[in-house]
Amino acid sequence: MTPALEVSGLRKSYGAVAALSGVSFRVGEGTIVGLLGPNGAGKTTTVSIICSLLPADGGEVLVDGAPLAGDTDRAKGRLGLVPQELALYDELTADDNLRFFGALQGLEGARLSSRIDDVLRLAGLADRRRDRVRTFSGGMKRRLNLAAGLLHDPKVLLLDEPTAGVDPQSRNAIFESLEALRAAGKAILYTTHYMEEAERLCDRVVIVDHGRVVANGTAEELGRLLPAASGPELDAEARAAVALLSARGIAVPGVDGGKPRLEEVFLHLTGHALRDDR
């Protein structure tokens, strides 16, 4: 079956610096794929190339099996981008924002109004549609940011750190929305720094570092990448304690009943050295 989004062999350099050196992965319908990596690993470059904000030096992006052809390719409408920044006009109402972004995607009339109703409902903002965005809390803005990316009912959703700086309630609301979208068959690429988000949401995780994919699989598959000796040696008492905690739903990193946390895998693959943005 053709994946909704297929990235193969993406390459991109900024002068002598290679940002991407052959990044490949797939996102199927009804799945959420987490794209993880340290700062400067190439996540944002990958997302920018996928949605045509940046040309690739090599490689291919296929949406529904077909490459995107130019600025005006209507197939771009199959992609929905939710940028990391709050891409909203503060001085306009939620409704006005959505009308503008919907119009950019070619929506109009009753279809546009209907879609605005749908996404506002999904974001839990239906009762605030006439309010100016500047009166919204950070969490409400994040939800509206997500709603704007969904307006044209894209098949593939690209989310770049969509929960940065939001309160737990709004984060949970966003997670529930994404789970509903996955259930509706959307293919979702989810970029985040929060490992627990990836663990909760993602069916698969792609870890990139230095412009390369260093791991690609389910959380369980990635856990197997840890060396067997990476966990602490436990005596019988300790193993019993871990089992007790595990039974009560309390995880112990690295020794959680043999299930390593994603963060351990991430640090194991990308190292402990500090990374700064390029």
Partner: protein, 433 residues
């Protein structure tokens, strides 16, 4: 105290690290002060102050020809001869500051008037009302020339002798009772006649600049401001509203450009580029929106001038609207060009304010372009602001029509709009990274 000093140090560091602050706070006042100082210092005046003046000499007498020659020889004037109708049209269009109309019979009449023998002839001085200072200078120079040439003819020319004798005969034949004033005038005429005979043997011809003692003015001057039509008075607000209207049109466009840069810094730019939208459509949409907002700005400015201050569009109303539309489009394209060339909103704003102030100043928006040196007056014709302001002047108080007054300016402004859009399209950083 230490905290206060830390704040001072911090603020100074911030100021110096921001190019906008440096440009707005230091470079702009230096440039503007230097420019205005140069304009009004008189430097370059020898090349600057040739005031274009037309002369319509309907008399063709020795006196009128001498007056024309005197005006032409003056280093402050650039004199051209023309018919009265052509001269009037040139002043109306702003191509000449003033036009001197010397009527038929001016030469003889001025000499007669000198000795009170007849009513003084009337010289008509057609002036551009927006250039009152220069027109005043022309008036003064004209008076000097006419007095000089009339007195020269009166005291040295053959017609002066004839008029003297005729005037004396008329006085002596007048049956009215003698008055002290009349006796003084008779004595004066006899003395002048004797003086002329002693200096020229009664033949005349010796040039003198001596003014006639007790003589009357040899002419009267009728000054007529040339506006759209006779009876239409000049409203100085028309020019100031044109200048300020264009200036704030550009500021509105700057705000549009800055907003575009801010969109780029935020995620809205990503949404715009991720949508199935061509680059040309994106720029065209932005340019049109900017132009419409600019039109509202300049339209409201002129509406106030019209309703409250009596500014009138004496020329072509379609021409006026055409210039507003083309100016608004030029300005919005300029805003997009700033967005294309600028890197950050802060730095772009500082440099753009400087650019706009220079464009408006050199375009004649603050002080009329005629005060510029000749070379600068010519050089500023490459600026769109000059065409916009001159075009608005033409169709408002000068009363110019659509074809002659508005179309050339509108064509230049549309051309600049296209050029700015093209450069913006080419120079815009369309991709991230």
């Amino acid at each position: 105290m230490k905290q206060a000093l830390a704040i001072v140090r911090h603020e100074l560091k911030l100021f110096l690290s921001d190019p906008r602050s440096v440009v707005v706070g230091i470079v702009t006042p230096i440039l503007l002060a230097t420019f205005f100082g140069f304009l009004f210092s008189g430097q370059g005046r020898h090349e600057a102050a040739k005031i274009p003046v037309l002369v319509a000499d309907a008399d063709g007498s020795a006196v009128s020809s001498a007056v024309v020659a005197g005006l032409a020889a003056d280093p402050l004037l650039a004199v051209t001869q023309a018919t009265e109708a052509a001269a009037r049209e040139a002043v109306r269009k702003g191509k000449a500051v003033a036009a001197v109309v010397l009527p038929v019979g001016f030469g003889e009449g001025s000499v007669r008037a000198f000795f009170g023998a007849s009513k003084a002839p009337e010289i008509v001085l057609l002036v551009d009302p927006s250039r009152a200072t220069e027109a005043g200078l022309v008036r003064g120079l004209l008076s000097e020339k006419v007095f000089r040439e009339s007195s020269r003819e009166a005291f040295g020319g053959s017609s002066g002798t004839t008029v003297l004798q005729e005037s004396l005969r008329n006085l002596e034949a007048d049956p009215a009772p003698a008055t002290p004033e009349r006796e003084t005038l008779e004595q004066l005429l006899r003395d002048v006649t004797r003086w002329k005979e002693s200096t020229t043997g009664g033949q005349g011809g010796a040039a003198t600049q001596t003014r006639g003692p007790g003589s009357a003015a040899p002419f009267t001057l009728k000054e007529e401001p040339v506006t759209a039509r006779r009876g239409v008075t000049y409203n100085s607000y028309a020019h100031s509203f044109a200048g300020m209207g264009i200036q704030f049109l550009l500021f509105v466009a700057l705000d549009f450009g800055i907003a575009f840069l801010l969109e780029r810094q935020g995620g809205i730019w990503k949404r715009l580029r991720a949508a199935p939208l061509s680059r040309s459509s994106l720029l065209a949409g932005k340019a049109t929106a900017g132009a419409l907002v600019g039109l509202i700005s300049v339209g409201a400015t002129f509406a106030f001038g019209i309703v409250v201050l009596g500014v009138r569009i004496q020329g072509s109303i379609p021409g006026f609207l055409l210039i507003l539309v083309s100016s608004a489009l030029m300005a919005s394209s300029f805003g997009l060009l700033l967005a294309a060339l600028g890197k950050t909103p802060g730095a772009t704003r500082g440099l753009s304010i400087l650019a706009i102030l220079l464009l408006v100043m050199l375009g004649g928006g603050w002080v009329p372009a005629f005060v510029f040196p000749e070379w600068l007056r010519t050089a500023t014709l490459v600026l769109p602001t000059r065409w916009a302001i001159d075009g608005l002047d033409a169709v408002t108080w000068r009363g110019a029509g659509l074809v002659a007054g508005a179309l050339p300016a509108a064509a230049v402004l549309f051309g600049y709009a296209a050029l700015f859009l093209l450069v913006a399209r080419l120079r815009f950083r369309w991709t991230d990274g």
